[in-house]
């Protein structure tokens, strides 16, 4: 599967992306002419020191933030050209976000959290219900539909968050340190879940992580340093054959 992704179509293409912040009158180049290609079905890991701009990059790729210059073409769409309203609609169709702190809505049950993105689709109540149950079943929480986030463990919360990201069957998933707040066992099971999504359902995943073990599970690892991405030799795994 991993090897095969190299031949597939490019799903995200970022070219010469620049993102700066001004701090105390000084301009900081967080992304400095960054290029990136992500192919369909690929699981890409991003590493880098804290403050190197990993979250900023995910936000740009997911249409949450605008770069100062450069282009992001996702699934054939130049997302920089979209109005903020259209961009919101585009996000709801194409991107599933997974956060380090899960970001479930505490007053809603697991079921309602997963149903939330489906409210933006044209599905009726019964179709939504089927979709929510499928997504929660997929992450192994079919028995916890009506639990509130504070009645779930961290690992379970992250599973609900993943179900929410999956519910609309988006084009790709963006995960920002999805195991960063979990103990080793829960982290491993979340990674197993992501592996299943990637391998069996062909989900494209871009995952930021600080954890080398998490990075190991991905097909490809890139390092973000000084505003650009560097390809990294993998420990324990041979680099993928190029194109062939």
């Amino acid at each position: 599967m991993a090897a095969g992704s190299a031949g597939r179509r490019v799903i995200i293409e970022a070219a010469d992306v620049v993102k700066t912040y001004t701090r105390g009158g000084e301009t900081v180049y967080v992304l400095d002419g960054l290029d990136l290609e992500v192919r369909e079905g690929e699981w890409l890991a991003l590493m880098g020191p804290s403050g190197s701009g990993k979250t900023t990059l995910l936000n740009v790729l997911g249409g949450l933030d605008h770069p100062d210059s450069g282009n992001v073409i996702a699934d054939g769409e130049d997302i920089e050209a979209l109005s903020s309203r259209d961009l919101a609609a585009w996000r709801s169709r194409h991107v599933g976000f997974i956060f380090q702190l899960y970001n479930l809505i505490p007053v809603l049950t697991a079921y309602q959290n997963v149903e939330l993105p489906l409210l933006l689709t044209s599905l009726d109540r019964r179709e939504r219900d089927a979709q929510v149950r499928t997504a929660l079943g997929l992450v192994g929480l079919a028995e916890r539909l009506h639990h509130y986030p504070n009645q779930l463990s961290g690992g379970q919360e992250q599973r609900v968050a993943i179900a929410r990201a999956l519910a609309t069957d988006p084009t790709f998933l963006l995960a920002d340190e999805p195991t960063g707040d979990l103990d080793a066992r829960s982290a491993a099971s979340i990674l197993d879940l992501l592996a299943t999504l990637n391998r069996d359902l062909g989900k494209t995943i871009v995952m930021v992580t600080h954890d080398p073990r998490a990075a190991d599970r991905a097909d490809r690892l890139l390092h973000l340093e000084k505003g650009v991405l560097l390809e990294q030799e993998r420990r324990g795994r041979a680099p993928r054959p190029d194109g062939a």
């Binding site: 996000r91 970001n103 007053v107 309602q112 933006l120 929410r164």
Partner: protein, 387 residues
């Protein structure tokens, strides 16, 4: 497009906070209804009265009487259809604390001007036999339904009364219990024969006021002018006013009071607004991440703003409904408490409607501020707040 289920979910998750917000609006709206009703009650007294009646009283003071001999002269003025007179009695019934108005009147002319013989319809509603019984018997009296109910009086009862301004032991026989057709006239007055009073005093020969009923309302200035000028050089200078203007004299005393009440009402509403706004801002602060998540998922900014606005309207609207509902429920109880101070107390539909509009406006206003803030915060900033 808008995740409405978040509103009940939030309300359920912080029931105390929601209850306190709804409660503060409910109390403010209740007070608004109460104060506004006192004001409308006072205003109604002035505006609802007919101007086919004009009232002549002493130019010196309301407490100075006029000689009864003026009666015939007023009756003779052009445009006057009938004239009756009222005399303030005072007196004590059982205990000085049991206070209600008592007037001695001339029943036949009273009936002409205020009763079933008035061509424009009666103010004081009594059955024909009751009017006749009242006219026929020298010691007969009639009483308003409110005091009759309060004291448990029935037709035929004897009502003892001790004179104060006009000393003596009086005893009246109740011959009718009236209601009024117009809210400007209370149902808490006792009327008896002036002749009985005159006899008991061995001839008082005077009355407090004359009420003249005119052929038509436009004649009021003309009649007033000719009555007043007739007596202008006598010892009994008098002043003739329309019934409306006459009552306004009393209401003028209330004038500053209504302003004061309106001021209190306004202040309470402002306080409720601040409480609600404070709660909603607090809510908004706690929900910044939620806003970030909703935006990430693709909910448009406008939906998120609308959600805040709707929450404000829902909380304040509920508070408004509770406030109006409560004031309607306790209306009769309130009237019995306030009877001594206000002529009428009935919550007008306009007052209820205004109260609900104000509650909605409070909600819109206090929901708009966090709503605009939530709609405008960039998604990245909302997510970074905590994460």
């Amino acid at each position: 497009m808008t995740p409405w289920m978040l509103i009940p979910a939030h309300v359920r998750r912080s029931p105390l906070r929601s209850f306190l917000t709804v409660g503060s609006v409910a109390i403010a709206i209740f007070l608004f209804c109460l104060l506004r009703t006192v004001v409308t009650g006072i205003e109604a007294t002035v505006s609802k009265t007919s101007s086919t009646r004009v009232i002549t009283s002493s130019a010196v003071s309301l407490f100075v009487n006029l000689p009864v001999s003026m009666w015939d002269k007023i009756r003779a003025v052009d445009g006057v259809r009938a004239v009756t007179h009222w005399t303030w009695f005072g007196g004590v019934y059982v205990d000085p604390k049991e206070f209600f108005a008592r007037f001695s009147v001339d029943p036949p002319s009273f009936r002409e001007v205020y009763g079933d013989r008035h061509p424009g319809g009666a103010i004081y509603l009594l059955a024909e036999e009751e009017w006749t019984a009242f006219e026929r018997e020298r010691t007969a009296c009639i009483a308003g339904a409110d005091i009759a109910e309060k004291y448990g009086w029935k037709v035929g009862d004897r009502i003892p009364m001790q004179g104060t301004i006009y000393p003596g032991d009086y005893e009246f026989t109740l011959r009718g219990i009236y209601r009024t057709s117009n809210a400007s006239f209370d149902q808490q007055t006792l009327f008896f024969h002036w002749k009985y009073l005159d006899e008991m005093q061995g001839g008082i020969g005077s009355v407090s006021t004359f009420t003249s009923d005119l052929e038509s309302p436009e004649l009021a200035p003309l009649v007033a002018g000719s009555v007043d000028s007739q007596f202008s050089s006598s010892a009994n200078r008098c002043i003739t006013l329309t019934e409306q203007a006459f009552q306004a004299q009393f209401v003028a005393m209330w004038g500053n009071y209504t302003l004061f009440l309106s001021f209190i009402g306004g202040a309470v509403l402002v306080a409720a607004f601040m409480v609600t706004l404070n709660t909603l801002l607090l809510n908004a602060r706690e929900r910044v991440t939620e806003v970030g998540v909703l935006k990430t998922l693709g909910f448009p900014d406008a939906s998120i703003g609308l959600l805040n606005l709707a929450e404000g309207v829902a909380l304040c609207g509920l508070g408004g409904l509770c406030g109006v509902g409560f004031s309607l429920a306790v209306e009769p109880a309130l009237f019995s408490v306030l009877k001594a101070f206000v002529p009428t107390f009935s919550i007008l539909p306009e007052t209820s409607a205004a109260a609900l509009c104000i509650a909605t406006a409070l909600g819109l206003l206090s929901g708009a501020i966090p709503g605009v803030m939530a709609a405008r915060i960039p998604v990245v900033r909302a997510l970074r707040r905590v994460g």
